[in-house]
């Protein structure tokens, strides 16, 4: 069954007809071409598909697109400014070496974004907790944690 839904995605309002079975992840990737959000396990175990929904980190593979009707979604593509001006989190991930194969990176960055939006000065344990649902097989998490700490400092300094 098809449903008409309206989403605010990365600042743009879009109206879509979606199949009731389709997850938010599928609709973002396949209908809106936002392939920055990654499919990893498709069952909520890995955090690879994390986006923010009304400011909260959510697993887009575990949510039907129709459930997001009327809500605001931010994906990894929605973080940078004009001309690919990197968000402080993106910049810190690049500079700190927190990205290796990069497949899990959008999920980590979006989990960290949701954290920093709510808690601009997190301690190490709070950072670890915020990304504890995200799996990375390359980095060993050290440089990811450093990147989030560094971005928090930079963003805190800007305020």
């Amino acid at each position: 069954m098809k449903h008409d839904i309206e989403l605010k995605v990365n600042g743009d309002t879009v109206t879509l007809q979606v199949d009731s079975r389709r997850t938010l992840l599928e609709v973002l990737r396949e209908q809106l071409g936002l392939t920055g959000t990654k499919e990893m396990c498709n069952k909520g175990d890995c955090g690879g598909c994390t986006v923010t929904l009304d400011g909260n980190a959510v697993l887009s593979c575990m949510m039907l697109a129709v459930e997001a009707n009327g809500k605001e979604v931010v994906t990894i593509e929605g973080l940078a400014g004009e001309g690919y001006r990197l968000h402080p989190l993106q910049k810190a991930f690049v500079e700190r070496g927190a990205i290796q194969c990069g497949y899990c990176s959008p999920g980590f960055i979006m989990s960290a974004k949701a954290l920093l939006d709510k808690n601009p000065h997190p301690n190490g344990d709070q950072i670890r907790e915020a990304i504890s649902n995200n799996i990375c097989r390359c980095t060993g998490y050290v440089q990811i944690i450093e990147a989030i700490e560094s971005a928090a400092l930079e963003m805190g300094g800007a305020k």
């Binding site: 392939t35 593509e77 991930f93 500079e95 990069g102 799996i135």
Partner: protein, 770 residues
């Protein structure tokens, strides 16, 4: 360029900005016009004969464009295997299935939904056969044979026998013997296996897939499709994890090619998480029995190693499991008498193959040995290690020369930096510290593939493009190639582009196989850059009316050396344009052949036995030592690793930012396999029970310890600028360090990994009863 060297600088990965923006294109992101979606029919049985396949209902389903089965579509006699002896894997079988999940048929349709529906309409008739899941059962008399012609389920045997081990052990003052085991582990790759194949009317296949070694995948597909490898073009994209798990010629790629040729349209095969875990590759379970003879003074007289490895259903590429442990074990600790006898055993399970941590049981056994024997002989355990540690220019049992090693230095530094001597035995209840050493090869024997060829073309604006057949798994190879080209040529990295891993445009390269990227592929790029620089200087010299050796490059300009600061320079763009006008554009060619003995490595064997294993089989070895501090919870059996000191002997450190990141990643991988990662099969059905991240536990940020990294910086004679493999070797002793730390914490010795909480509790309980 200011003339300041880039070697040893922290340079962020050049591809990470695209990845941070979500712009990087992975195979799973690709859609081609007219692309069809495929689904695969898989065996529900661990061992069965395929009697018949009825695809008629699936073929009638609207939207289905092609159906393939092994019976109808697999070219006969086209079998995959990386060496002749183990060409045992029919990628879409037509006679027998040998593990749950093996491919039997496939459908391509205009949507995934239709393909899934069609798969359900295919009726396969099987005759179930008895199956065997574990090596110890598979070698027993009367066990079901996974391959009828391989008696005792022996896929292959490998022997190195140097000196007289029996005599040596008999004459030793003390002989230590133990058996170590490890479970089957998964790569847990983030990006689901995906391939897109597009067959062209000319007879050519274009493929986009995740592969660590495009040229080997091309060869494997050529062999199994029975087409010339040059009729297959592999395109490399960003890749979501590899870790050894994308080194093969996957059945999914073969099936996508068959479907695309049949349908006349591009076809995507994308696996689910369960399919990836059940049907891609695993790391072999091992049983590692070791005897070590010692003199009273602590000198090792000999080592006798007998191992059994489970290769799963096919030995096609699992054969590597047989000799890589040797290439680690024979190197670390001197042994004048040495025997390594390894059997690769078929079972009805997921196929084993390469993995970054594949050989950890060997190093682990020796570090446990040193700690135990030190008590028997009354010798300090660090001194015992140093007495037996390999030194530069020593010859290992299979006759490779170790051209550089800082093993001893790494042991001393790790012990010092961690405070091992002070902390051992003094860390308080249930807390302990341990040490372990490891090593790895930088390029092992791969026949004619043991070399790489690179070239560089210059553009008319003075920029250039580097071409290499190597690719990037995330470890930073792209960055390394541009860093080296920039260092040699003298133009900035941003003025150099890279074309990589494209089998049509690039020359042959080993790929990310045998840890060869630094020593082999980067050396080829270095030579190509030097060649291009020579051409630039020649043309600049012509323009400036002097010989090439009188010319110096400063920034993007060339000057006559003796007139620097006085005369006019010539810009690099002008040099390039002059070269074009002369009909000889600036070009650099570089080829690097690994320093190995190209004679027989015993891999062209016809029988599952080989003894011709002598000669230089590895170009360079990396080494290193780690210490682990941990706490064991006696109530839950849970082990918390708190601190790790890692000392890396990886030669010159090209880019510390990246090498450190790779090391942290390797530690994470090793911790996972040491403490939690294991695959389990249901004995009643032969099914894997650990095919998701919920059931196959991997470390998260919560398990990350403090990691203190140090480099020795001892240059290797063959590596570019003295660099060698930097991500793996240092950490291969981590499980020995964990085992020794657990003993320090609890008095319990661990001989089996992963040491999961249930196993730990059981060991503590047994210890209490003693």
């Amino acid at each position: 360029m200011s003339g300041e060297s880039l070697i040893g600088k922290d340079i962020p990965r050049i591809d990470s900005t695209d990845k941070a923006l979500g712009r990087a294109k992975y195979t799973t992101d690709m859609v081609l016009p007219g692309m069809l979606y495929a689904k695969v029919v898989r065996s529900p049985y661990p061992h069965a004969k395929i009697l018949s396949i009825d695809t008629s209902a699936a073929e009638r389903l609207p939207g289905v464009k092609a159906v393939v089965t092994g019976i109808k579509d697999t070219p006969r006699g086209a079998v995959f295997g990386i060496i002749p002896h183990t060409t045992d894997h029919v990628l879409l079988p037509y006679e027998k299935v040998r593990y749950v999940g093996e491919e039997v048929a496939a459908v391509a349709a205009i949507s995934e939904d239709i393909a899934e529906e069609a798969v359900d309409l295919i009726k396969v008739e099987y005759e179930q056969l008895p199956y065997v899941l574990h090596a110890e059962d598979a070698v027993k008399e009367g066990a079901p044979l996974v391959h009828d012609h391989r008696k005792g389920n022996l896929a292959a045997r490998y022997l190195v026998d140097e000196g007289n081990i029996e005599e040596a052990l008999k004459n030793s003052d003390y002989v230590w013997e133990k058996t170590f085991t490890c479970d089957v582990a998964s790569h847990g790759l983030p990006e689901p296996f995906t391939v897109i194949a597009s067959y062209e009317p000319s007879g050519k296949f274009n493929l986009w897939l995740q592969t660590q070694c495009p040229f080997q995948t091309r060869q494997g597909l050529g062999n199994t499709l029975k087409v010339a490898p040059s009729d297959i073009r592999i395109h490399s994209l960003a890749m979501g994890g590899a870790h050894g798990g994308r080194s093969d010629t996957p059945p999914g790629a073969f099936i996508a090619c068959l479907l695309s040729r049949k349908a006349g349209r591009p076809v995507q095969v994308k696996m689910t998480r369960e399919e990836v875990e059940d049907c891609m590759r695993d790391k072999a379970a091992k049983v590692w029995n070791i005897k070590v003879g010692f003199k009273k003074d602590g000198t090792i007289t000999g080592r006798d190693i007998r191992i059994f490895l489970e290769c799963g259903a096919y030995a096609s590429s699992a054969i590597v499991e047989l000799w890589v442990p040797l290439l680690i074990d024979e190197v670390l600790w001197r042994a004048p008498n040495y025997r390594y006898l390894a059997d690769l055993i078929y079972t009805n399970k997921t196929i084993s193959s390469m993995m970054r941590t594949r050989a950890h049981v060997g190093p682990m056994s020796m570090d446990v040995c040193f700690d135990q024997v030190s008590e028997v002989l009354g010798i300090d355990p660090i001194e015992l290690r140093l007495k037996n540690a390999v030194l530069p220019n020593e010859v290992v049992p299979s006759k490779s020369v170790v051209t550089s090693t800082g093993l001893s230095e790494s042991i001393v530094m790790a012990a010092d930096k961690s405070g091992l001597r002070e902390k051992k035995g003094n860390m308080g209840p249930n807390r302990g510290i341990g040490i372990g050493s490891g090593n790895m090869q930088s390029m092992f024997y791969m026949g004619f593939r043991s070399g790489s060829t690179s070239f560089i073309k210059f553009n008319d604006d003075g920029s250039c493009t580097v071409f290499t057949g190597n690719c990037d798994l995330g470890q930073g190879n792209q960055t390394m190639f541009l860093q080296i080209a920039s260092e040699e040529i003298g133009i900035e990295m941003k003025d150099i582009k890279l074309c990589y891993g494209d089998t049509e445009l690039c020359y042959q390269d080993p790929g990310n196989y045998s840890m060869s990227a630094t020593v082999v592929s980067a050396n080829a790029v270095k030579k190509a850059a030097q060649d291009a620089k020579r051409h630039l200087l020649e043309i600049a010299g012509d323009i400036l009316d002097v010989s090439a050796d009188e010319v110096e490059m400063r920034g993007k300009e060339f000057f006559v050396k003796r007139r620097i600061g006085k005369g006019r320079g010539v810009k690099i763009g002008e040099v390039c344009r002059t070269a074009f006008k002369r009909g000889k554009p600036i070009f650099g060619f570089g080829d690097y052949r690994a320093r190995i003995d190209y004679s027989d490595f015993g891999i062209d064997i016809k029988e599952p036995y080989n003894e011709k294993t002598y000669g230089q089989k590895v170009t360079a070895y990396s080494f290193g030592t780690t210490t682990v501090e941990l706490e064991v919870d006696p109530g839950t059996g849970r082990i918390k690793v708190e601190r790790i000191v890692a000392v890396n002997d990886c030669g010159t450190v090209l880019n510390p930012l990246l090498v450190k990141g790779n090391m942290q990643g390797h530690i994470n991988f090793m911790l996972g396999q040491g403490l939690m990662e294991r695959n389990v099969w249901d004995p009643k059905t032969g099914r894997k029970l650990t095919s998701t991240f919920r059931t196959y536990k991997v470390p998260t940020a919560n398990e990350t310890p403090d990691i203190d990294i140090h480099f020795l910086g001892i240059p290797d004679p063959d590596g570019p600028y003295g660099a060698k493999e930097g991500s793996l070797g240092f950490g291969c002793g981590l499980h020995g360090a964990i085992s020794n730390a657990i003993h320090d914490a609890t008095g319990v010795w661990v001989y089996d990994v992963p040491i999961t909480p249930d196993k730990m509790l059981q060991l503590l309980e047994e210890n209490r009863k003693k």
